[in-house]
Amino acid sequence: MKNAIALTINRIQLALRNRLFLFFSLMMPLVFLFLFLGIFSRGVPAAMPPLLAQVVCITVMGNFWGLSVQLVTFREQGILRRFRLAPVGAAAMLGSSIIANYALTLPTIILEFILARLIFHMTNFGNIWGVLLLCSLGVISFASLGLIIASVMNTMQETQIINQLIWFAFLFLSGATFPLVLLSKYVQNAALFLPATYLVDATQRAMNQSVSLTSLVPHVISLVVTAVIAFSLSVKLFRWDATEKATRNAKLWALATVIPFILLGVYEMTYGQLRRDAQVTFQLMEQRTATPAKDSH
């Protein structure tokens, strides 16, 4: 634990000195905030909760890139080799990545809440503690998923390509940018197999309809299971040295991370209500946008 804390402090220091990291982790979420609340809400505070939830989810999902990509760079540059020579384990190395991500993301989310209140006059934040808990689980889950990719990809180039593909799926198919109900039925079905969809749906309902976490059990379980499986596998598959290439077995192990989402997706398609809930959230937002005078006072 002592090592994980020392590494976390170091990772935070290094991240704060990295302009690219600051741009993507702080500036980009704020751009999304102004775009969603300033334009898409048509200036109606009552219509803002699901939109702020989307912005928050994009910020949380950004942890998928986060410091895990930095680990691949460290491995390619031979930096991890130096850490390996010291009494530091893979769990401390990877754990510090997640804690540092969390410590850097949480202030951004709180800043988004503050700006939504002060600039866009948003008053209803719904179940805010539930939202913060979902965000916390989300950071751990998405950062862990990033670590899995970092563990099984051999080069930075490969990592960038795979990350982009997964990131775009998270961003555009989960309801984080376009409401799920606006997507075709096939895409909606596909979205049920993505962890991002559960994060977006749960956060929107907690913020828009003040839904308690006890009503969001499948969502919470999906995030917790992702975090546990992805983190455990990334520790198991972690490589310190760029000369040790990821084996086919390792890549198969990494694929095991998707199993809970296949099960959850099948369950949702058969018995779930996620698509109906997304429909309700969207209709509420549409109604509030259409009747600004009533809702804003």
């Binding site: 002592k2 090592n3 020392a6 590494l7 170091n10 220091q13 290094l14 000195r17 990295n18 460290f74 540059q77 031979g78 930096i79 080799r81 130096r82 390996r84 020579l85 010291a86 009494p87 530091v88 384990g89 310190w240 040295d241």
Partner: protein, 315 residues
């Protein structure tokens, strides 16, 4: 004994390597290396690039797994010793780096925090001449400063065994001498050091004993003096002539034990220098050739290597 770093020790074999082998796909990097290192000794693995030195050191550091053979450092197996083993060793890796935006002091403090036993960060910074650079980012350091930092980090846990893998490779001669001074200081402190190098000067100056490694095998072991004496107790004559000569003819001259050609000059080994020089001069007169240069020196480890392998160290 070695598990308790505070114990005073009697000379013992702190590193033992038996029949070590390591293969990377088609390449057999180590083909059965054996050697031992006594406590307090500076032991060198001398050999050309690709000889298997780094693979051997990285196995000893616990960074790689051998295919076969046994390895023991401080009575522990580096591959299964885990963090308890890493508490006892320090090292400078051949190809490594640190994050660009980490400051010198931060790097020492961070790595220091991983160990149970640690030296004062200020002492290390002062000792390795890093005081003025302690707030500088790693990316702004020169090659020599980076290497001094690497050495400081290798010693921050007061290790029982220090592994230095090509610690002066790529550094200019002045910085190299600075690093030599630091290693000599460690030698005076009776630190056990395993150093790999392809620099003859480094091995001769720093090492108590040397193992000459070539093609994944140890081809000779001993003190630099023993190795040079075993190299036939000859004197080395470097000979330059105006027109090409046949090395086989020179080999037959009086007192000559060996003669090899290198880039237009000959290295002649002689058991009786005066008569060999007279014979060379007479031979050149007889063949209407001219003497362009002649240097006499006692054999170096380079000569030993040439004698054993027929190649120069940096070929």
């Amino acid at each position: 004994m070695c598990n308790n770093p505070t114990l005073t020790t009697v000379p013992a074999q702190i590193i033992e390597v038996e029949n070590l082998t390591k293969r990377y796909e088609a390449v057999e990097a180590i083909r059965g290396i054996s050697f031992h290192v006594d406590e307090g000794e500076v032991f060198g693995l001398l050999g050309p690039n690709g000889a298997g030195k780094t693979s051997c050191v990285e196995i000893l550091e616990g960074l790689r797994t051998p295919d076969s053979g046994t390895v023991s450092v401080c009575g522990m197996n580096p591959q299964s010793g885990g963090n308890a083993y890493k508490q006892l060793i320090g090292g400078v890796l051949q190809s490594t780096s640190l994050p660009e935006k980490i400051r010198v002091r931060e790097a020492i403090e961070l790595f220091s925090s991983f160990y149970d036993r640690r030296r004062s960060v200020d002492d290390l910074i002062n000792r390795f001449g890093l005081k003025e650079k302690q707030s500088a980012f790693y990316s702004t350091l020169s090659g020599g400063q980076k290497q001094r930092l690497a050495l400081a980090m290798a010693l921050l846990n007061e290790p029982r065994v220090v592994f230095l893998d090509e610690p002066t490779a790529g550094l200019d001669p002045q910085v190299r001498r600075e690093i030599y001074d630091i290693i000599e200081e460690l030698k005076r402190e009776k630190k056990t050091i395993l150093i790999t190098t392809h620099y003859i000067e480094e091995a001769e100056r720093l090492c108590d004993r040397v193992a000459i490694v070539d093609n994944g095998l140890v081809i000779a072991t001993g003190t630099p003096r023993e190795l040079k004496q075993a190299s036939a107790g000859t004197t080395r004559i470097e000979l330059r002539v105006a027109r090409p000569e046949d090395a086989e003819v020179l080999k037959k001259l009086e007192g000559v034990t060996d003669c090899r050609t290198f880039d237009g000059y000959f290295v002649v080994h002689s058991k009786h220098v005066p008569s060999t020089i007279v014979a060379i001069v007479k031979h050149l007169e007889a063949t209407n050739n001219e003497l362009a240069g002649l240097e006499i020196a006692t054999p170096s480890l380079e000569d030993v290597f040439i004698e054993l392998t027929g190649r120069r160290l940096r070929d």
